[in-house]
């Protein structure tokens, strides 16, 4: 990827340091500045680290902050990439060689992977710089980042608010400008929901687009890695860098990745937007409803057509998701048994006690709840009624969307039922917490690409997200719609209060 500028063509240098501190830049603006030698990647990194020093104690977006890159800079050199020298936050369930990867769990508090996730290898190939590992709900199980075993992350827009989850650390780090962009993972909305809560762009690619190798599995058939960024262009840049077939992941597809970042302009008159009634029903906060509907008007004003579509299986989404995801999780988390690595209880008179105590002490309440749920769903005598039924429901949900996508190019819904709720508000009520993902989980069950873009603000000053869903492997159209909206609005330019105290 070339920025279109050659070094030495120095124009408009003053823009970079006079008006914005470098950590506020997007990837494409930073790449532009680096290409023009308006500043160095060292200065960019320093700006990011100054911001971390200033706000991190309040926000707690990171679990681990690296003061020096894990890899020698010489191995990071890729002058052709827009990501060269760009400081990124990486969710702490994505394995980073020689850098502790905890998954927000006591179980892996000291786990240092001897290998990189494929997405890390690819980002390093682009010359990107790892700033740190971002906080998350334990094993990506949660919608508020309060289930981190270490500490909750706070929403940069309101410090008494949750940042969403489970990629709450990544969303908060981007919103607080503690990194230029970040990676998260999305199993039921874990990129899009925090992106909506923190007023950033969050994208879940089609299942199979991005290699899961090195992503610590929560629910293997639903997990997908994706970017959290300051705007749509950055999401496209990140997506292009990490997507594509990987021989180490048999579920990654061999389809070529279209050029997206340079193809975002699209005439909206060619676009048909599906509006599902079921997603604008009871339980939706009126401010969110108004915000998303207003956003749709922006797109229709650009020429897009809207069409009511029906997704009648919507009410089964949550139940289906919590059977399939927990069933897979109960198996995926079996390896944390104290035998080989990770936490081991000191109480270990015999093997069974060692197993039981290790898992009792090493896992938090939510992880244990989901392991039990999933174990139950797969048990002899219950399998057909729970897991089997859930698989059938999953097929029906997928079919609903496929039918809708025969008539429309994208589907637009709210990302979340409400703006970010208060810390502690839902920790005692798991079902209320689960309902935070009611609009996002279908994309995972169906495997469709989906993203959230900031589209409004609540009266209380909290961001509201609009969700755009695309057809299988048609991330391009989805991103084009998001980009068209962004061109007409400035929600993506709004800055969280805590990030505004510019440090120059």
């Amino acid at each position: 990827m070339g920025s279109g500028y050659s070094r030495g063509q120095l124009t408009d240098l003053g823009r970079w340091n006079a008006q914005v501190s470098l950590n506020h830049l997007t990837i494409h603006d930073a790449a532009d500045g680096l290409a023009k030698a308006a500043f160095s990647s060292q200065e960019l990194s320093e700006a990011v680290h100054r911001q971390i020093a200033r706000v991190e104690e309040t926000v707690h977006a990171f679990h681990t902050v690296l003061t020096e890159p894990a890899k020698a800079p010489s191995t990071l050199s890729n002058p052709d990439s827009l990501l060269q020298g760009i400081p990124l936050g990486i969710k702490d369930n994505i394995c980073t060689e020689d850098v502790v990867t905890t998954c927000g769990s006591r179980m892996l508090e000291h786990f240092i992977p001897p290998y990189n996730a494929t997405v890390m290898t690819r980002l390093e190939g682009h010359g990107a710089v790892l700033v740190g590992k971002t906080n998350m709900d334990e094993f990506a199980m949660g919608s508020s980042t309060e289930h981190s075993a270490f500490q909750p992350t706070r929403n940069p827009w309101g410090l008494d608010r949750i940042p969403g989850g489970s990629s709450g650390g990544s969303a908060a780090a981007v919103a607080a400008h503690e990194c230029i962009a970040a990676l998260g993972s999305d199993t039921g909305g874990s990129i899009r929901q925090p992106a909506a809560c923190c007023g950033v762009v969050g994208m879940k690619p089609t299942y199979g687009r991005v290699s899961r190798y090195g992503l610590v599995a929560y629910a293997s058939s639903l997990d997908q890695i994706g970017p959290l960024t300051k705007d749509v262009t950055d999401a496209a840049i990140m997506f292009e860098a990490i997507a594509g077939h990987d021989v180490k992941d048999s579920t990654s597809v061999t389809m070529p990745i279209p050029t997206i970042a340079k193809a975002l302009h699209r005439n909206m008159t060619e676009i048909r937007i599906g509006i599902p009634d079921e997603y604008f029903a009871d339980g939706l906060d009126p401010e969110v409803n108004d915000g998303v509907r207003a956003a749709i008007h922006v797109l229709t004003a650009c020429g897009a057509k809207t069409k009511a579509v029906s997704l009648p299986t919507t009410p089964y989404g949550i139940a289906t998701y919590y059977l399939i995801a927990t069933a897979e999780a109960s198996s995926n988390l079996a390896r944390y048994d104290g035998v080989k690595y990770g936490y081991r209880s000191s109480q270990r008179e015999d093997l069974l006690e060692m197993y039981c105590q290790t898992r009792k002490e090493g896992f938090g309440a939510e992880a244990k709840r989901r392991i039990m749920l999933g174990t139950y769903a797969l048990s002899a005598g219950y399998y057909d009624a729970y897991y089997g039924k859930a698989q059938q429901a999953r097929e029906m949900i997928r079919a609903d969307f496929e039918t809708a996508f025969q008539e429309v190019d994208v589907i637009i819904t709210p990302t979340t039922p409400t703006p970010a709720f208060r810390l502690g508000e839902k920790t005692d009520d798991p079902v209320q917490m689960y309902l935070s993902d009611i609009y996002t989980i279908s994309a995972n069950l169906g495997g469709f690409p989906a993203m959230s873009v900031p589209c409004a603000m609540s009266h209380g000053g909290l961001p509201i997200g609009m969700q755009i869903l695309g057809r299988w492997f048609d991330e391009l159209t989805m991103l084009q719609v998001a980009f068209a909206f962004e061109q007409e609005t400035d929600w993506h330019l709004k800055r969280a209060p805590i990030s505004e105290d510019s440090n120059g």
Binding site: L215, S250, A334, R335, V339, K340, S379, Y383
Partner: protein, 482 residues
Amino acid sequence: MSVYEVVIGLEVHAQLRTRSKLFCGCSTAFGAESNTQTCPVCLGLPGVLPVLNQTAVEMAIRAGLALNCSITVPNQFARKNYFYPDLPKGYQISQFDLPICQNGWLEVGEGDQTQRVRIRRAHLEEDAGKNIHQAGSGVSHMDVNRCGMPLLEIVTEPDLRSVDGAVAYLKTLKDILVYLDVCDGNMEEGSLRCEPNISLRLQGQDAFGTKVELKNINSFKFVKHALDYEIQRQETVLADGGTIDQETRSWDAERGVSVIMRSKEEAHDYRYFPEPDLMPVEISTKWIDELRSSLPELSQAKRERFVAEHGLPAYDVALLTASRPLADYFEACVAGFPNPKTVSNWIMGELLHALKNNNCEVIDSPMKPARLIALMKLVDDQTISLKTAREIFLDLFLSQQMPMDFVQERGLMQISDDSAIETLIAEIVRTHPQQCAEYQSGKETLMGFFVGQVMKASKGKANPQKVNTLLRQRLMSEKVES
């Protein structure tokens, strides 16, 4: 005859002879130092994913076709969940409702005794590691080298009715797997493991009795022993009016008894579900057809052909077809020396003896068919005697020389030239006038004496048949002359 009929079904785990493991690139070589053949994938580290070994799939299909199975398309992997320290992921990747091979059969036994044993299924799965418990120390060690080794689990219907039948099935199965080159058949190294299900029922009764599963039979020779023991045990329980509990028992080879491992109530709930990290395995009809047409001739068919084509005795055929490399060796020799019985004699005698003495496999024999053919030809055209050929065999076996060079270098060629032998005979006759006269006067037993003298004079190299003929002529002519 017992009042009970024995019903046996067998589960056999065959380790496939791939170079790398089922889901990662680690080596499958046997006997390496503990935990040296591992990687993040077979160690089950967080975040890693399995990638299916295509060669293992091919071997499973070949075995399935040889066992008359249908190949399931698509077949699917499933997770079998249980906790044990030798299972790093807390689940084994196996196959459940869609095994790669289904509904086959195997003919066991000869002639009238032939029985068709139905194969219910054969599925691919990964092996677990090994726990090594240090007695008395309270310490257990783990060897992960075996984790992820490719296994084909072959399950019969409960079709076997005797211990001998079960052993015959195992031998036939091993034969086939070794012939297909998909398993080395080495039970002691664990390449072939057998878990029988055994139940008894009254003769003539339709319903099956309660079955007991036997585990931990680590050697072929224990199979018969373990089955006999278990049948005896069940007979005793039933004869005393007791009932058999459905349970899994472990064979203790040292004490020669089976001991209970777990009852039906303690049976695991493995919570099988489709492995989400692997796509269903699609197999094209074209590939199956290619593999079917490239299947080698199996031992049974080969035995029948060896009798029909080469006219060999049953004993020779059984020996020559014991392994595919040996049968191939035989046929290579017959191709260059079309006297099957002579070839068979050389192989069963000198060759196998030399291989055993040198702890060498047929495939690695320094005596290739070309050299054995050349040796047999030297005997056939009387360049050397059969006796000489046998004497030099071991040295020749280890050398790289062609037999002719070997023989020439050592001057071992037989004297077959008439005039040379006649010269020797003339000298012997001249120096033994007394014996000559006695022979001519009717003491024909002296013939052996003369032959011995001529052979001695030739240092054993004279062609004995020629010596006999020429000597007789000479002595007779002496008689006429006198």
